[in-house]
C-alpha cells in the first residue's frame, strides 16, 4: 500500500538524517580545531617545526616574551622557566630552557600543553624545537633542563609588545602505563 510505503520511506530518511547528525557531532571536534587554527583563536600554537629561510631579523624592534609554567591540579613536579622574560628581535631564533624536577620517588610521565596570549599573537610565534611535542618521562628525584627554540615572526602586529607563552604540565603517567599494558609495542601516547 502506498501510504505505508510513504511512511516507511519518510521514517528511513529521517532516521538517516539523525545518523548524519550523530556523525556531525563528532565532526565538530576536528572542525573546532580547524576553526581555531584559521582564526588563531584559543591561543593554540600552530607554527611548529623549522622555519623557511629568507626571514630578516628586525633589529629596530624588540618584543618581550614571557614564560609561564603552571602545574595542572594534583601534579607534584617542580616546573619553572629558567628565565621568566626575555627580549627578542622579531626574526631572531632564541633558545630558552624550562626545568622540571620530579620530587616523588616514582617514575612519572608528563606532557606540557602550551597556550599563547594574546591569542592574536598565536600565529606569529614559531616554535622551531620544543619539549612540548613529546611526553617527558622522569624517574623519581630526577631533574631535566628542557630546551625550547622560538622565533617571533617579523609580521607581528606593531601594537603587540609582549607575548606570553604559558605551559601547563599534565600528569599522564596512568594513561601511558595503561596504554603500554594494552599494547606493549607502542611508544606512549601520541595524540
Amino acid at each position: 500500500m502506498s501510504l505505508a510505503r510513504a511512511n516507511r520511506r519518510l521514517a528511513l530518511r529521517l532516521g538517516l538524517a539523525a545518523l548524519l547528525m550523530f556523525g556531525f557531532g563528532f565532526l565538530l571536534s576536528p572542525l573546532y580545531d580547524v576553526f581555531c587554527r584559521v582564526t588563531g583563536l584559543n591561543g593554540k600554537v600552530t607554527n611548529i617545526g623549522a622555519v623557511d629561510g629568507g626571514i630578516t631579523v628586525d633589529k629596530q624592534r624588540q618584543v618581550q616574551v614571557q614564560f609561564l609554567a603552571i602545574n595542572n591540579e594534583g601534579m607534584p613536579w617542580r616546573f619553572d622557566p629558567e628565565e621568566t622574560q626575555i627580549s627578542v628581535h622579531p626574526g631572531e631564533q632564541r633558545l630558552a630552557y624550562f626545568v622540571a624536577l620530579n620530587p616523588t620517588s616514582r617514575a612519572m610521565v608528563a606532557r606540557a600543553v602550551p597556550s599563547i596570549a594574546p591569542a592574536e599573537a598565536a600565529s606569529y610565534l614559531h616554535k622551531i624545537n620544543c619539549f612540548c611535542f613529546e611526553s617527558q618521562a622522569l624517574a623519581g628525584s630526577e631533574s631535566q633542563r628542557m630546551p625550547l627554540v622560538l622565533m617571533i615572526d617579523p609580521a607581528l602586529p606593531a601594537h603587540i609588545k609582549t607575548v606570553t607563552l604559558s605551559y601547563t604540565l599534565f600528569d599522564i603517567t596512568s594513561k601511558t602505563v595503561a596504554q603500554r599494558e594494552a599494547r606493549p609495542e607502542s611508544k606512549g601516547v601520541s595524540l
Binding site: L3, L14, A18, L20, F24, G25, F26, L41, K175, L191
Partner: protein, 531 residues
C-alpha cells in the same frame, strides 16, 4: 499497513488486562502512558527539588552532605528536562495530533510503542545510579567535561547509556510525529490550515532529529575519553574542555526550544477558545515559530560568554540572541491581540494560559538581560540564571502542560474535572511559583552562586522565602493529581464540544473519543478555518 492490521486484530477496542499497555500500538494508550510516566517523573524530580530547597532553607549544612546535594541538583535537572517535560509533550502529541489532523492513529504505531517503552528502562538506569558506589552523577545537568569525565563518579557510564536510550526514544518519537503530520492529514487540510499545536510540534520534531544525535555524540565522546583513552576533552592529550561546551550547547540551546515550542502551540489553542475569537495572526505564528527554531542553532555560545571568547564572538552571539526576542514578541503580541475585545471566561486552562503569557514573558526578559554579554560576566552561574530558566520552564513549559491537561482532560475521559479544585490548584501554583523563583533574581544579582549547598548569611532571608514557596508549589501538585484521578473515575459528563469556543477536528469526536478515531477521513469545510 500497520494501522490496518491492528484495526483488524482489535475491531472493538483495547485488549483486556495489563498486556494491553505493554503491547499497545494505539496512539491514545501510548499518549496516556507517556503522560503518566511524565507525571511520575515530575513528582520524583519535584521531591529532589524539595530536598534542595529544604537544605537551602537556612545557611549552613543541615540535612544533606554537599556530595548528595550535588547529586540532587544534577538528577533534578536531568529528570525534569528529559523525564518530565519532554515526555509530557510527546504524550500530548500522541493523544492530540492524530485527532487534530484527522488521522486514525500515528503513522508508525509499532515504533511508537517502542519509543515509549525505552523510557522507563532509561530512567530506571539513571535513577539506580543513586544507589551505586560513589553515588549518582554530581556534575550538574550540563555535565561539563572534565568534571564529568576525569572527576566523575563511576556511575557516569550508566548515566551515558541512559542518555543514549532516551535520545533514541526521542528521535523515534520525533520521526513518528513528522510522518503523521506530513502523511496522514485529512484531505483538504493544507499545511497552512494545520492546527498550531501540530505546527509547533512539527518544528520541534525537526529540532529533535537535528540535535538529539549531537547529544548522543557528545556523551559517546565522554564514554571514549573515560574508557578508551581518547582525549576529546582532555587537555593533557591535546583535547579541549571548551570543545565540550560548544558541542553540548549546540545541542543544548535547540533543546530549550524543544521544551517551549509545543507550549506555544498549546497556548495558541487555549487562548482563542476562552476568548471566543479566532487566533490573531495564524501565519505570523507559523513563521515566528520557524524563525525561533532557525535562530536556536546560531546562539549556543551565549551560554559560555565567560570561557574567553574573542570580542567578535561575544558580539555575534549577543546580537543573534537578542534577535530571538523579535519572533517571541510577535507571539506574545498575537496572544494579547487575540484576547483584545474577546468574550473571555476564566476556566482553569485559561488561567494557566494567561499565567503562561505573563510569567514566560518575565522569563524572556531576564533572558534578554543574560544575553547582554558584558553584564553576563556578573550574572553567569548565579541564582539569576536559575531564576531565568525556572521562569521559562516552570510557569512556561510546565504550566502549559497543566493547561493542556485541564483543556483536553474532558475530551480524553468524557468527564469534566472539578473546576473549583482546578482553580485552587492554579492559584496555589501561581503564588507558589512566584514566591519560589522571584526572590532568586535578587539573590542572583547580589552574587549567590548556583549549585551550592551552603551560602553567605546575607542571602538567608530570600532563600527562606524561596523554600517556603517551593513547598507550597510542590504540595499543591497533589491537588492536580487528585483532580485527575477523580476526573478519570467519573464526573459531570462532557459533550463532543467540551468548551463553547473550541475549534478543530478533535472536538467533532465524542468524549471520550472511540479507540480508533477517524477510520474514514473527516470532511473539512463545514467549519471555520482551524485555529
Amino acid at each position: 499497513m500497520l494501522t490496518e492490521t491492528m484495526a483488524h486484530e482489535h475491531p472493538h477496542g483495547p485488549a483486556p488486562g495489563l498486556m494491553r499497555w505493554v503491547l499497545t500500538t494505539n496512539h491514545k494508550d501510548i499518549g496516556t502512558l507517556y503522560l503518566l510516566f511524565s507525571l511520575i517523573m515530575f513528582l520524583t524530580g519535584g521531591c529532589m527539588a524539595l530536598v534542595i530547597r529544604a537544605e537551602l532553607f537556612q545557611p549552613g549544612l543541615q540535612l544533606v552532605q554537599p556530595e548528595f546535594f550535588n547529586q540532587m541538583t544534577t538528577m533534578h535537572g536531568l529528570i525534569m528536562v528529559f523525564g518530565a517535560v519532554m515526555p509530557a509533550f510527546v504524550g500530548l502529541a500522541n493523544w492530540m495530533i492524530p485527532m487534530m489532523v484527522g488521522a486514525p492513529d500515528m503513522a508508525l504505531p509499532r515504533m511508537n510503542n517502542w519509543s515509549f517503552w525505552i523510557l522507563p528502562f532509561a530512567f530506571s538506569l539513571m535513577i539506580s545510579t543513586l544507589f551505586m558506589e560513589g553515588g549518582a552523577p554530581n556534575f550538574g545537568w550540563t555535565f561539563y567535561a572534565p568534571l564529568s569525565t576525569t572527576y566523575a563518579p563511576p556511575s557516569v557510564t550508566f548515566f551515558i547509556f541512559a542518555v543514549h536510550m532516551m535520545g533514541i526514544s526521542s528521535i523515534m518519537g520525533a520521526i513518528n510525529i513528522i510522518a503523521t503530520i506530513l502523511n496522514l492529514r485529512a484531505p483538504g487540510m493544507t499545511m497552512m490550515k494545520l492546527p498550531l499545536f501540530a505546527w509547533t510540534w512539527l518544528i520541534t520534531a525537526f529540532l529533535l532529529i537535528a540535535v538529539m544525535p549531537v547529544l548522543a555524540g557528545v556523551v559517546t565522546m565522554m564514554l571514549m575519553d573515560i574508557h578508551f583513552g581518547t582525549s576529546f576533552f582532555d587537555a593533557a592529550g591535546g583535547g579541549d574542555p571548551v570543545l565540550f561546551q560548544h558541542v553540548f550547547w549546540f545541542f543544548g540551546h535547540p533543546e530549550v526550544y524543544i521544551m517551549i515550542l509545543p507550549a506555544f502551540g498549546i497556548i495558541s489553542h487555549i487562548i482563542p477558545t476562552f476568548a471566543r475569537k479566532r487566533l490573531f495572526g495564524y501565519a505570523s505564528m507559523v513563521y515566528a515559530t520557524s524563525s525561533i527554531a532557525f535562530l536556536s542553532f546560531i546562539v549556543w555560545a551565549h551560554h559560555m560568554f565567560t570561557v574567553g571568547m574573542p570580542l567578535a564572538g561575544e558580539l555575534f552571539f549577543m546580537f543573534s540572541t537578542m534577535l530571538i526576542a523579535v519572533p517571541t514578541g510577535v507571539k506574545v503580541f498575537n496572544w494579547v491581540a487575540t484576547m483584545y475585545r474577546g468574550s473571555m471566561t476564566f476556566e482553569t486552562p485559561m488561567l494557566f494560559a494567561l499565567a503562561f503569557v505573563v510569567l514566560f514573558s518575565i522569563g524572556g526578559f531576564s533572558g534578554l538581560m543574560l544575553a547582554i554579554a558584558p553584564v553576563d560576566f556578573q550574572y553567569h552561574d548565579t541564582y539569576f540564571v536559575v531564576a531565568h530558566f525556572h521562569y521559562v520552564l516552570v510557569p512556561g513549559a510546565i504550566f502549559s502542560i497543566m493547561a493542556a491537561t485541564y483543556f483536553w482532560l474532558p475530551k480524553w475521559t468524557g468527564n469534566y474535572y472539578n473546576e473549583q479544585l482546578g482553580k485552587w490548584h492554579f492559584w496555589l501554583s501561581f503564588v507558589g511559583v512566584n514566591i519560589t523563583f522571584f526572590p532568586m533574581h535578587f539573590i542572583g544579582l547580589a552574587g549567590m552562586p548556583r549549585r551550592i549547598p551552603d551560602y553567605a548569611l546575607q542571602f538567608a532571608d530570600f532563600n527562606m522565602v524561596a523554600s517556603v514557596g517551593a513547598f507550597l508549589f510542590g504540595f499543591s501538585q497533589l491537588l492536580f493529581v487528585y483532580n485527575i484521578i477523580r476526573c478519570v473515575q467519573g464526573g459531570y459528563g462532557a459533550g463532543n464540544q467540551v468548551w463553547e469556543g473550541a475549534e478543530g477536528l478533535e472536538w467533532t469526536l465524542p468524549s471520550p473519543p472511540p479507540y480508533h478515531s477517524f477510520t474514514t477521513p473527516p470532511v473539512l469545510g463545514d467549519q471555520r478555518e482551524p485555529i
